[in-house]
């Protein structure tokens, strides 16, 4: 197993390196980060030249990349166009996004299990058909549209209860009360809407998947035989069917992870979270090479690690993989 993981990890190294160079080159070619400065009346050429020197704009791209990669290996991701060190900046934004995304994945999986298994037990029932249509509509809805809708619902809910329970902007209120309870309530209040948006979209796809997997497992011989042995239905579904039906879901969740991060970009914009999405959009808008590449490096690493984690879960669930 360990060897398998290490091999997977080694496989992903060239992928990350190549993609980081691609992003570096693309952003570097996307334009001059000082262009707006050049256009500002009153800014002297000398000032632009000084800034350009600091940003090494005169060097060829591959040289700049090598220089950056050299220090990146040592954990220094360079500085942004604005002069801020990139590494702490990216980690800060990563924390914000991961909090939202991981919770969304957990909620999404839980929801998918409940809905998927529930509808699989009664295929073609009204509930099943409703679920099928609903998930189809959810999958066809632009994420930002759904986010905007939930935001509106959230505000109306607050106005109904007469105080702000769920928040629509940012990840926490500035300087809330000192008590642990109020801090937790505040954090959760900020998390509800963005997480729900992401989780709903994820759930829509996963629940259909879980439904199909469950139906297949329920028809499998070993489940039939468990039934024949007279095991109670609850135990048949809960232990035998569910466990095996979880295996394909794990794989899907892992492959969808990058897509969820993509969706998070939009959700972050709608809910004004300063996460990875905002960081990337700003970096691209400013042609900020170091930030964009740092973003990619960290995001790709996270995706790789999470995929590995999924492999581990997969192995734990499926005894066939443990001893290849």
């Amino acid at each position: 197993m360990a060897r398998f993981l290490i091999r997977r990890l080694l496989h992903s190294v060239p992928v990350v390196v190549v993609s980081s160079f691609l992003v570096f080159a693309m952003v570097a070619a996307s334009g001059d980060p000082l262009a707006e400065l050049r256009g500002r009346p009153g800014v002297s050429d000398a000032t632009v030249a000084l800034r350009s020197e600091q940003l090494e704009l005169h060097k060829p791209v591959h040289e700049r990349y090598l220089g950056w990669a050299g220090s990146a290996v040592r954990g220094d991701l360079g500085t942004s166009v604005g002069g801020e060190p990139v590494a702490p900046m990216v980690l800060r934004h990563l924390g914000v996004t991961l909090r939202m995304v991981l919770l969304a994945v957990v909620v999404g999986i839980a929801g998918a299990l409940v809905v998927g298994v529930g509808t699989a037990l009664r295929p073609r029932s009204v509930l099943d058909r409703a679920g099928s249509v609903l998930s189809m509509v959810l999958l066809a809805t632009p994420v930002f549209w759904l986010a905007g809708l939930l935001k509106d619902v959230g505000i109306r809910f607050n106005e109904l209860v007469g105080r702000t329970v769920v928040f629509t902007a940012g990840e926490r209120s500035p300087a809330t009360g000192a008590s642990v309870a109020s801090v937790v309530a505040d954090r959760l209040g900020h998390l509800v809407l963005p997480t729900l948006t992401l989780a709903l979209v994820a759930m829509a796809g996963w629940s259909r998947f879980q439904r199909a997997a469950t139906i297949e497992v329920l028809n499998a011989p070993y489940v039939q035989s468990a039934r024949a042995r007279g095991l109670p239905e609850r135990r048949v579904v809960g232990v035998h069917a569910l466990r095996n039906a979880l295996i394909p879901l794990t794989a899907v969740v892992a492959t969808d992870f990058a897509a969820i991060l993509g969706g998070a970009v939009l959700v972050e914009v709608v809910f004004a979270w300063q996460g990875m999405g905002r960081l990337l959009l700003d970096a691209v808008a400013r042609s900020d090479v170091h930030v964009a590449t740092g973003w990619l490096l960290v995001t790709a690493s996270v995706v790789v690690v999470l995929n590995l984690l999924a492999d581990l879960v997969y192995a734990a669930l499926d005894p066939r993989i443990r001893n290849p």
Partner: protein, 560 residues
């Protein structure tokens, strides 16, 4: 660095013996707000800030953003601040700076006697002088092709400071500067100045020393903390030397990068004040909110069309006239601005703007559209109707690119309007949207455009600003305009020390622009300030100062 809002049109002279009282009084009665409402004690205001600072030295090109200025405006030393009525307050000075009677090239400033930093040290000439030295610092090691003079520091704008030939310290609080040539806009100098001692002690110095904290305060508020990506907190400076004293406990800058999310946050009680770029739906949303008041102002930034005068056809004045008669500026205002502001109006002056003292409406010929005259002008210039109803001459159709920055709905909409209006008079418009980088960095400087739609910030110094934009050979003169009349007026205006005569020259400059139709001004950009009713004395200063200009008088509404 320079007060970015001195309109050059200053009200009444305050260099009388009673100058100090007058200056005080103006601070007591902020701007146009005739009376100040009574304030309750304490309170916290949360402001939805669209831009997050990336450091606090607003004089560097990195940090010269409105997001930084909103924070430092109430922290750093300001000799002068602009008022909403386009007058100025010499908030940090004993009296208006003035030329020495015998040597008008030498100006004397006197810092307020009681002015001190929040660490209790006095604000002295040493602070000013250090700032000046840093702005003008040269380092032979930094000489390069792009930087032949070897400027050592990143400075956004040295205008004015680079005309000082000698800086003299008279005493702790008084200094003189000698200018060569004379600098008419000297009244706007010495703003946004950090404490010298603090900056010297920072390893990063001028360029990056203030990246994380601005240091001691000379203003009504103190920097307390900054959670990057979330919020920045200012607290009351109880020791502030000005008056009236601030009463709010704190001002929180909540960083919400998206205007739409800030309106929702206001509605959801998450923030108390927003200042987004207004747009029809945004204003309608704000109007529907309970317990929130709002105001719409028109700032010193104006939309316009710049013509590329080197373009073969656009170089012909008749073609530009046809465009000016074909574009219905009133209708643009009616469609895009009137739905939320009855005061919205077209602007007829590119140098001195509406709402500023000295504004004159020029270009009377073009105040209303006149398609017939447009066509006549074209036909007079030898153009004839060709395929599709578009005019052409010598086989070349009148077909222009209209370049602007993409992703801005307002711009896209006004471009569509102009396209359809100009089609009426037989001129074809092809719409080209660019990223800000390509637009400002590539297309404008290299002259790769026909007609460009963007905004100039005309506010700060009408003469200096307009001179940078339209005088012959100037770097920002993208259209390639060159007029002896304009250059003469601009040159004289820049040296003119008298404010009234400055205004006359500024208007002369604009008349030259209209005579040649180098630029077609459209309208001034609106601003929108919305504040929760529980706060009082907050008003917009639609010069470049924004709403933070008088934060010392803000407060919570006194419970009745």
């Amino acid at each position: 660095m320079v007060v970015l809002a001195l309109t050059g049109a200053c009200t009444g002279s305050r260099d009388s013996p009673g100058a100090r009282e007058a200056a005080r009084k103006s601070a007591d009665l902020p701007g146009l707000q005739a009376e100040m409402e009574e304030r309750g004690d304490r309170g916290r205001l949360v402001y939805a800030a669209e831009q997050e600072p990336n450091g606090f030295n607003g004089s560097t090109s990195r940090n010269a953003t409105i997001g930084v200025k909103n924070v430092t405006e109430n922290i750093f030393f300001y000799a002068v601040k602009a008022r909403p009525d386009s007058g100025v307050d010499y908030v940090g000075l004993e009296r208006e700076p003035r030329p020495l009677p015998d040597r008008p090239q030498v100006i004397e400033w006197q810092i307020r006697k009681d002015a001190k930093w929040s660490d209790a040290t006095p604000i002295t000439v040493a602070d000013i002088q250090y700032y000046f030295e840093q702005v003008m610092l040269k380092d032979p090691a930094k000489v390069s092709a792009g930087n032949p003079d070897g400027w050592a520091n990143d400075v956004a704008n040295r205008v004015g400071y680079d005309q000082i030939t000698r800086f003299t310290r008279v005493d702790d609080k008084t200094f003189q500067a000698e200018f060569e040539p004379a600098y008419g806009d000297f009244r706007g100098m010495w703003t946004d100045i950090p404490q010298a001692r603090f900056m010297q002690a920072q390893p990063g110095g001028w360029d990056t020393g203030l990246n994380d904290t601005p240091g001691p305060s000379a203003g009504p508020y103190l920097f307390k903390e900054w959670n990057k990506g979330e919020s920045l907190v200012l607290v009351r400076n109880a020791e502030w030397w000005g008056s009236p004293k601030p009463t709010l406990d704190s001002i929180v800058f909540r960083f919400l990068p998206d205007a739409a999310s800030s309106v929702a946050a206001l509605r959801n009680q998450e923030v108390d004040m927003i200042y987004p770029q207004p747009q029809v739906d945004l204003v309608a949303e704000v109007r529907r909110l309970d317990g929130v008041r709002h105001s719409i102002g028109f700032g010193p930034t104006f939309e316009h069309l710049t013509f590329n005068l080197k373009h073969e056809q656009l170089g012909d004045k008749a073609v530009r006239q046809a465009i000016a008669w074909g574009v219905d500026r009133n209708r643009i205002v009616q469609a895009l601005l009137r739905p939320f502001s009855a005061q919205a109006a077209r602007v007829d002056n590119s140098v001195v703007l509406l709402g500023q003292r000295g504004y004159e409406a020029h270009g009377a010929d073009y105040h209303s559209p006149n398609p017939a005259r447009a066509r006549a002008a074209l036909e007079g210039a030898g153009y004839a109707r060709g395929a599709g109803g578009y005019y052409e001459k010598a086989g070349r159709r009148l077909s222009f690119r209209l370049s602007t920055i993409g992703g801005n709905q307002l711009r896209e909409q006004q471009a569509e309007l102009m396209r359809s209006q100009l089609a009426e008079v037989g001129i074809e418009i092809r719409f080209e949207t660019l990223t800000p980088r390509d637009f400002f960095g590539v297309h404008l400087p290299s002259g790769d455009f026909d007609i460009a739609n963007f905004a100039w910030s005309g506010g700060p110094f009408p003469i200096s600003a307009a001179k940078q934009v339209w005088s012959t050979g100037s770097g920002s003169n993208y259209g390639g305009y060159s007029s002896p009349a304009f250059d003469r007026a601009a040159e004289r205006g820049a040296r003119e020390l008298d404010r009234e005569r400055q205004l006359v020259l500024a208007n002369e400059m604009d008349r030259a622009l209209w005579d040649d139709l180098a630029v077609l001004p459209l309208y001034q950009k609106p601003t929108l300030l919305a504040v929760r009713n529980t706060f009082v004395n907050i008003s917009d200063n639609p010069t470049n100062e924004g709403p933070f200009w008088n934060a010392q008088v803000w407060g919570v509404r006194k419970p009745s």
